[in-house]
Amino acid sequence: MGRTIVIATLAAVLVSCGKHKYVVPTDFAQIDSIAPIYPDYTDIVVPPNIAPLNFALPVTGATEMAVLFEGEKEGKLVAGAGKELKVDIDSAEWHRLLEQNRGAGIRVSIFACMPQGWVRFQPHSLEVAEEDIDPYLSYRLIEPGYELYRQVGLYQRNLTNFDERPIYENNRAYSDEHNHCVNCHNYQNYSTRQMLFHVRANHGGTIIVRNGKAEKVQIKGDSILTAGVYPSWHPKKNLIAFSTNKTGQAFHLYHNEKIEVLDEASDLLLYNADTHEVSRVLGDTTKFETFPCWSPDGLWLYYCTANEPQSAETLNLPDSMAEMRRVLLYNKFHYDIRRLPYNEQTGLFGPSEMVVDCSSRERSASFPRVSPDGRYLLFAEGDYGQFHIWHKSSDLFVKDLQTDSIYPLTEANSDDVDSYHTWSSNGRWIVFSSRRMDGNYTRPFITYFDRQGHAHKAFCLPQHDPDHNILLLKSYNVPELTRDAVRISERELRQCIYETEGTMATYHALKRVTH
């Protein structure tokens, strides 16, 4: 008992020594403007379970900062920072305050100690939503661009705190024998019980995890274009729709965009994880079908499709220069979103129907994602092409599938790239990739999607050190929300990747696909 008291006392002393208690100044001058905090967390809607929104105050001359969070319902929180001007909010107090003010607002007053004394900026607000965000976000971290890769990994971040752990990282040291890339992680129904990702180059294959067991599969063969690429897991069945793409990149010489990712050809596949059978769903050689996505009820398969553009200037180029023709016409590729009805009993797809006609407006849609309630189709729309993560014109749009109206998520969009989005399992949050911070490095942004179908000002994934976004030289790729943490260990995944050749998928022709 005595020892416990001593330890508790010591711990209390250490804690009190470690945490500086900031005091809100009483004597200050009022400033008319809102504090220029980084990242911009002003006037946003936040999930009640989000990690503390630590921020920096890049104001020249300021030597100290104090922040007062006042809950509309109840509770107060005082935080602050020394001369580095970076607030490190106490996590426990933060979560308590958010919980106390679920569905209400929090007023944030920021005070800065300037040479002439304390000043207070115009307070801003945080609105705490009623609905939580799924606690886990997984993504790939990779340098933004170009052809080569070296060290890449899939990581999972706990959104309620700052913990990040690798799901799988490739080899750290260069090795001709072991170099490989990982990409396109995907989950069934926001659960990590069933997940997949691709391994490219050495030890290549698709890693499919089912009930904690990893299996490598080779989804390729003479009857299909290439391996499976962009995946979508059927919400109820062990069926995975893949696109299969022959993809290349072209590098701009003088353009405000740097890279154009083009498909030479693309089809849609359906893979049965139980039988290891793969079938071609769509394989029209005159069309480019890509980015499949199941509706939450599993009765529709959405996808993007474009016709090969023609132009007088490239018409005379021989077939051997088809790739050059596509590069020259890169801005003439306009993708629409269509969907195929799927009959779960017969396993057959019905005739395709148009959902978002972008090509007639000389625009291009990409990456369809249906909201968990099945009402909204979220997609990225840009001027051309399908790999919108490199298109500055790319913005998030939704189609209300009940009213057929299509509109941009203006409040969440930016002047730079906004793409690669995912819904939360309750449909109230959208996480997407954006290059808005610096035009080059993608960062995950979170926006609240209200019951009226409108998004709100998006905010950057909170980091313990606000400078993380500046110092990190990698991009966040393919953010995916899940309800639970990935259970399978990195060691088990490595074992599967390194030690198995992979089961070869067998081709099985679908009985009929009607366009």
């Binding site: 170009y146 170099n179 010489l253």
Partner: protein
């Protein structure tokens, strides 16, 4: 008594061998290898900020590489970096002697590890820092010191008789002759390392010196360095020479002042196989050619493959300022603020943020602007490397410099019909010397050239003299290759010499440092 006096006198004249070795290695590491190590530092990266060093996590030799990278930052000033290197090597040598209890002639064995390291570093050349772990340059000597010091402390703890000798005093025991011989060996080892780098990797110091001059924006100095070593023919030297000429505006008059018949640089890529070192200078050439986005492309690839390096970050900063991407430029500058001794760079470029007028006034940037593309195109549609392919296909340029660059690419690649066709816009004018020489040479094949450029007649005498002199060697490709070198001193800088005798070694081996398709993907 007399014997004691004699011993005292002998002690007095003994040379402190370790101090001799320290001095010799310091001079080597500072004056001889200073530029090479400075470039190694630029090809490296170290910061006390954990997030920036995350790329090192889990790498082999991680701790020692991190420490080595930190020490390498001292090479911002080669005298300081050299001092650290000399301290490490001489300390390791001294500890080696102590731990092995070497006496008399055996004491010479203490120089073996440091000597091997010095020679190995000299032999590595570019491979010391190109596509390899830069932390080992200082890390290996540091590791040697740590290991030997640990052993020495253990020995000292258990042995009261085996005391640490004073390195300022001469050899441990032994005769005066042994002391003198050891001092000579200490210097000879350094001389051997110098010999290795001079005879086996002669281009390394020259290239590194040019790169250091480029960092200091001493473009004239760069060109002068290349011309002083005009007979050394290696692609990196030629690449940096071309950059210097572009920056001084002398590309159309002095391009062929150096020999261009590239020898094998003995450089290894990631996969340990040979390379023609294209990746070594690619991003620098892109930027100098005005291809800012291509420079970003190659700097990004460089960072992807190597982790961050000062070279790539500096290139990316400059490119971001040129493209007006202020926020990302600021990001790179913030990162550079976390790197020791990079305050000058940040101080120079930070004021340019959101100030296109200041960017335009910068001497280097204003040169780059002269040859920036007017229209977009795709790298994939051009012949590689892009800085040559772009200029070869150029149809419209921002300045006359762009035209000179385009014409020079054609005469460099000896694609003369295209060269003649591209000279049409300057018909009637007096072209720069090298272009005039090429036109005159082509007038023997295309008589219309003389009509279009009547001023060329003045130079015909020199061409005739040249043709007469080289006639005996014109029989075959092999014959020309055999006599190219002896003709160079007299005809260097003269385009017809390059046309017939330059660049004869067709490099058949592909650049294997361009990591193969297994490392390519859509990112």
């Amino acid at each position: 008594m007399a014997k004691q006096e004699q011993r005292k006198r002998t002690e007095a004249v003994r040379l402190p061998v370790i101090v001799v070795f320290f001095t010799a290695t310091w001079l080597w590491a500072w004056l001889w290898m200073g530029d090479v190590m400075r470039v190694a530092r630029e090809s490296s990266f170290w910061s006390a900020e954990g997030l920036l060093m995350q790329f090192m996590d889990g790498r082999p030799w991680e701790a020692i590489s991190r420490a080595g990278r930190m020490l390498l930052t001292a090479y911002r000033w080669p005298w300081l970096g050299g001092l650290l290197m000399a301290v490490l090597l001489s300390k390791a040598t001294w500890l080696m002697g102590y731990c092995l209890r070497l006496r008399g002639w055996w004491q010479m064995l203490q120089f073996v590890p440091a000597g091997v390291w010095l020679c190995y570093v000299s032999y590595l050349g570019f491979n010391l820092y190109f596509e390899t772990e830069t932390g080992l340059i200082m890390g290996i000597p540091l590791l040697a010191v740590v290991v030997l010091l640990t052993v020495a402390l253990i020995i000292r703890s258990f042995s009261h008789t085996h005391r640490f000798p004073n390195p300022l005093k001469g050899t441990r025991g032994g005769t005066l002759v042994q002391n003198r011989v050891q001092s000579i060996v200490a210097v000879a080892i350094v001389a051997l390392a110098i010999g290795v780098s001079h005879w086996m990797r002669p281009y390394v110091r020259v290239t590194a010196r040019m790169q250091r001059q480029m960092l200091e924006q001493d473009w004239r100095g760069m060109a002068e360095t290349a011309r002083e070593n005009a007979e050394l023919s290696y692609r990196p030297i030629a690449a940096y020479y071309a950059i210097a000429l572009v920056m001084t505006g002398e590309q159309a008059t002095r391009l062929f002042d150096i020999r261009m018949d590239y020898d094998d640089p003995h450089i290894l890529g990631f996969n340990g196989t040979g390379s023609d070192a294209m990746n070594y200078y690619l991003m620098d050439c892109d930027l100098a050619a005005g291809l800012v986005q291509t420079a970003i492309h190659h700097a990004m690839e460089h960072m992807t493959m190597n982790g961050p390096t000062l070279r790539a970050l500096k290139t990316l900063t400059k490119c971001a300022l040129l493209t007006g991407e202020w926020v990302v430029a600021e990001k790179y500058l913030r990162i550079m603020e976390h790197v020791p001794f990079e305050g000058d760079f940040v101080a120079k470029y930070r004021p340019m943020l959101r100030r296109p007028d200041l960017v335009a006034q910068d001497a280097e940037f204003s040169r780059v602007r002269l040859t920036e593309p007017i229209h977009d195109n795709f790298e994939n549609l051009l012949t590689q490397p892009v800085f040559l392919g772009y200029n070869a296909a150029l149809n419209e340029g921002r300045s006359v410099n762009a035209l000179w660059n385009s014409l020079l690419v054609h005469i460099y690649t000896k694609t003369m019909p295209q060269f003649i066709a591209r000279c049409r816009p300057i018909q009637g004018a007096t072209p720069p010397q090298t272009i005039a020489e090429a036109l005159l040479l082509m007038s023997t094949k295309y008589p219309d050239v003389m009509k279009a450029f009547p001023g060329l007649n003045f130079n015909q005498g020199r061409l005739l003299t040249f043709m007469q002199e080289v006639r005996p060697y014109m029989g075959s490709h092999e014959l020309r290759a055999e006599h190219a070198r002896e003709l160079f001193p007299k005809w260097k800088g003269y385009y017809p010499y390059y046309y017939f005798f330059g660049n004869l070694k067709a490099t058949k081996r592909k650049d294997k440092s361009n990591v193969g398709s297994s490392n390519q993907g859509v990112n």
